[in-house]
Symmetry: C2
Subunit: 228 residues, 2 copies
Amino acid sequence: MAGRSREGGKRPVVPPAAGQPRAASTTSQHTSSDPQQPISRGAGARQRVLQAALQVLDDDGLPGFTMEAVARRAGASKATLYRRWPTLGALMIDAMDATFQPFSVPETGRVETDVEQLLTALVTLLEHTPFPRLLAAFIGAVERDPALAALHADLTRRRREPLLVVLDRARERGELPPDLDPEVVTDLLTGPFFYRRFIAHRPIPPDMVNDVITHVLTTPRRRTDQPT
Amino acid sequence: MAGRSREGGKRPVVPPAAGQPRAASTTSQHTSSDPQQPISRGAGARQRVLQAALQVLDDDGLPGFTMEAVARRAGASKATLYRRWPTLGALMIDAMDATFQPFSVPETGRVETDVEQLLTALVTLLEHTPFPRLLAAFIGAVERDPALAALHADLTRRRREPLLVVLDRARERGELPPDLDPEVVTDLLTGPFFYRRFIAHRPIPPDMVNDVITHVLTTPRRRTDQPT
DNA sequence: TGTTAACAGTACGGTAGCGTTCCGATGGAG
DNA sequence: CTCCATCGGAACGCTACCGTACTGTTAACA
């Protein structure tokens, strides 16, 4: 019962994680598939499997993420999967890594506008793509697999980089105080949106991007003076 | 094999989620066990099962969270579980709800100190208790179960409340500008820590609490003046 | 002390995933 | 055109979980 789902597997569940033009994901030594070499037989199957893996993860979550399920959805045989990925974790790593694309760095000339672009893109990613569901499953898996944890840290680092670049440039231009810590500011800027989506599980209001920017991108001045 | 773990179940895996004195969780109509009524036979088994559920979730994550596994760990029969909880989701809801305890509201007289206490407690919760692992599994489950999503939103609301109270009081005392939005500030204050733990998957440095407070609890002043 | 509801334990048939093996088909490279 | 690595499909025995049903025991309450 439960509808075997007719494994056709045509659904376009997973567009690339970022809506921006793609820049090669540098740190990954797994994914190759350089555009010049004609997708050989092996590479074709590999791509299908990785995409199917993301679809399964998106549809059924961690409990449904199974070698059998992925093979079924990819129209591949289990032997093919086991030939390449010895474990579910390895498959998940490759699948997540292959999908990831970082945002491109905006250059509007003003910090606020640059940051606004990046945060707006983040909100879109969180609200209108399958990315958050994948990430939610990923978060659970990461707790029990050090290899996944390492990849997760790496992906996050790459995702943070555009924002860090924007903040650094702004600081060089004098738009931000030099004693400001870009790492902390990045946490402050992006943390609340992830928090809303995954912890508070509430919608992200349209003004939130600007509210966050207003609160964070402000010359920090300690409140040494306190009333009463 | 993998060691059936000899179901003894003595491990204290789950101390109450908050390290603070317990205040009755108001919104929950499930959990009863008022301290005056002597833990009847049923309630005793119920408690054991709920605790076992959290242990299983903590140890094996979502994929290992199974009626059989919980019953085994609780030393209960499956019939007992099915008698009370028709589905895994219902069991998870009760288990998470029963464990939750909100922080108590500090009253040091200064916003910064109050907030510092709450955030420090949060960091402790995130770094030295099983809470984050439970939450990680929970986040994954929530994506596919509306009932869990509702409970999650409710739990988060209750968890935010102490911080909101502190901010409100501070505003009444004039320590904070009246046009400040407590909801956004709460997101800004707590979001980064969850982000570090679950997304960036990096350690939370000791200074981070104070850094965040410094950056956020500042009179927001828009940068209408920009250089160049 | 006797009654009764809740309990642990066990067993059931059924389904699903595991990891591996073999076979025959097929497409790309020489 | 031929060769051969790669692929899909199917089957293997095995284990685990499902949801339900039926035992005999035990603790709470009258």
